[in-house]
Symmetry: C4
Amino acid sequence: MVEIIEKVIKKVEPLKDAVLIEGLPGIGHVGRIAAEHLIQEFQGEKIMEIYCDDFPPQVLVNDDGTMESMNNEIYIIREPIPMVVVTGNTQALSPIGQYQLSKRLVEIGIKYGARITYTLGGFGIGRIKEDPLVYVAATSKELAEKIKAHGALFRVDGGGIVGAAGLMLTFSKLMGIEGACLMGETPGYLIDPKSAGKVLGVLSKVLNIEIDMKELEKRAKEMEAFLEKIRRFEKQLEREHLMIGEKDKRQRDEDLRYIG
Amino acid sequence: MVEIIEKVIKKVEPLKDAVLIEGLPGIGHVGRIAAEHLIQEFQGEKIMEIYCDDFPPQVLVNDDGTMESMNNEIYIIREPIPMVVVTGNTQALSPIGQYQLSKRLVEIGIKYGARITYTLGGFGIGRIKEDPLVYVAATSKELAEKIKAHGALFRVDGGGIVGAAGLMLTFSKLMGIEGACLMGETPGYLIDPKSAGKVLGVLSKVLNIEIDMKELEKRAKEMEAFLEKIRRFEKQLEREHLMIGEKDKRQRDEDLRYIG
Amino acid sequence: MVEIIEKVIKKVEPLKDAVLIEGLPGIGHVGRIAAEHLIQEFQGEKIMEIYCDDFPPQVLVNDDGTMESMNNEIYIIREPIPMVVVTGNTQALSPIGQYQLSKRLVEIGIKYGARITYTLGGFGIGRIKEDPLVYVAATSKELAEKIKAHGALFRVDGGGIVGAAGLMLTFSKLMGIEGACLMGETPGYLIDPKSAGKVLGVLSKVLNIEIDMKELEKRAKEMEAFLEKIRRFEKQLEREHLMIGEKDKRQRDEDLRYIG
Amino acid sequence: MVEIIEKVIKKVEPLKDAVLIEGLPGIGHVGRIAAEHLIQEFQGEKIMEIYCDDFPPQVLVNDDGTMESMNNEIYIIREPIPMVVVTGNTQALSPIGQYQLSKRLVEIGIKYGARITYTLGGFGIGRIKEDPLVYVAATSKELAEKIKAHGALFRVDGGGIVGAAGLMLTFSKLMGIEGACLMGETPGYLIDPKSAGKVLGVLSKVLNIEIDMKELEKRAKEMEAFLEKIRRFEKQLEREHLMIGEKDKRQRDEDLRYIG
């Protein structure tokens, strides 16, 4: 069991027939860029912050002397259609954390009125493509076909979907609502607003709404700065680990049981 | 503690003096092929799906645009004799998950009328053998001898049985019923319907039933396609991991405690 | 939280002023040999088996077709003095499991009348020594000095004690009883009845009892056979892992969180 | 969930408007040296010991034959201003343990009257610096600016803070009090009383108290002896691991699930 803390930021009534949308960090940060773009474009209101003891045990440091905790956030959007949007700066670390958090996120979505789930993500192809394709995998054949009619393809690679983008479909199904994952082709080694735009393009047709894409590049630039920060932090951690190398070596051997 | 979700698919009365049979993924997929064959041959009815937050945190994608969750399944068979069959597309990932799920599976088996447990699996020998042998390990000397009389051998290699095939015997014993594991020799590097056939051959004698083996090869072919899918997914994951290599490096150093 | 199952084998009244003795698998198997020797010499009665879902998720296979579960066992000895002896074929795998099991073992000891704890183990020195020394570390200076007077030395290497042998002292202290760990020098790469004999020698003086050491070598031989079995099992596992190498590679990368 | 045991050493009334200070082991042991110095200089009284089953599963052995458990400790200081100081010989091992323990430590601090949190730590720079700088990251812009005015800098490296020093800020914020982390530049590969002195220098200005630094070097010497002990213990563990190498190899492959 992992502990999940829900900090309510703003009390709101459940929406009517809302769409639950997930865009957490993942390959090419496609899902997260797309989710943040929706929040910006449609004046999302933050209603909840979610903390979990299976998130990375750290905080991030901002240039202005403040710190930023690892968390997920729930936003609601009222127009053009009701949406509950999940984004954040991390996913859970362990399989158990991933399952429990995904379950909770779908429960929260349903509590706030969601009747269907769309998870957004990238599909790593290892190279840059002029016109990235969008794939779909859904909880039912009917939903899959409907989304295909709006320009998404079915994956024939026999792969899968890891993390919240996949597990929120499992829990949507278990809780009696439909769901689909939209995946945009992305090289994988860079932040990819183009792929996020393609995913949003299909989503807008499926939801029958219009999404202005002008600011998408700007969002991606901001996120690039954030990720550069993370990357430098990782370098710092590595450096510090090298310094305390001996301690590490021991930790790697976690099997201590045969020492009496 | 891991959470285990039991989704009842069909409500049924407990069977009378049933046999609990386990065939989950394992080496050579011997147990799983055997279990699926029993379900097909004897018109097994799916009565339950089991989800566990210690399963791989992912879903699989089908060619028709639908997704498939990681789960275990419980089938009942009424004729020729009552059976409760456990199969699925995964096992739990951690020791704790393995123990807790195995315990629950035996509890479910007993609840539906099981009075004895047979777990089916492969025994990797690293090479192809014309006529693979079948081994047995049981919760009592008497049961072991009885199964030996039907063609199984005792292992003298001093080894063991890992996962549900082993732990369901531990929990059968703790819950007061007998159990045995039937292990078919298998190269280990390929799906092995021949070994599954040998295991079913011994099982049919032990249970005094007839099992038509004609379709066994076909089942194995279908499973091969499924596993090829898994394999490609793994390649995809590896590729994506390479892309986000820096993040990985950090995660591998899980000992963060000496950074203040 | 890990689950610990206590299977009562024989109901007995608590002993009076008993000594809790721990000898679980560890380096040189010094503690385990010593504990099993006490059980044999003084006709220990098994009163409890302990199962834990943080034990290795497997069973062992015996030559006679039966299987053996991973567990710890509690024995009581009535003469020459009351003892509660803990032994078994494994220790818990994770830190959390180690702590919780050690806590429970001390609770059980106290429940059955223990008023002091002695944990027995090896101290690896990497070479064979004609006359291995015995070291002590105790929960109080007084107890340490008392045991030193019976031939044990204080360790000046600044090291520690890992696993149940150490943690049972922590929990003895927290539960208000004293405790000490006796550690016999041992090469580390072989089963060491000589070191176990030295440890028992100091223990016999501390407890003011006589322990016949004639059968000690025999016990060690039996244990050697058991460990050879484990070793072969490990080779089997390695072989099987090689066969399913692709699956493994994926599992090693446990950080799946950045795949959306 | 991890279990946290609070052993009350001395019952005291909550302090009035106290400052919660954390100095647990970390890079350069900057935080721990600083915290221990405060405790010594201002006659801190130990009021609680905290044990956690996510601490390293071991005890340390002292030269006088006694043992030392892994734990955290809570001290209160009454003059010159009320403080609740957290120190100890370890941090939790896993992310979940880190989160849960940090949460509990802030709860305990608040229970004993804390109204603001200062966590102390090192910031590894990989080289020795004549005049190490002190950085700050705070839960609010106001607090950050206030501390900057007393000589701390804002970090522009885009990094983070791992472990209790970071997470106690997250939980301070969640529980409605402010907090800041003071980080002293430190090479990382040695115990650093100079950096600890710089951190205490900023802290003394922020808290408007005087801290005599004369004994700081002495504390660092004592801690160096302790860490040398830990280092030798690690060497011992490595040596013992080498001896039981085969067992280790198996443990490293934790994915046992595909063995049926």
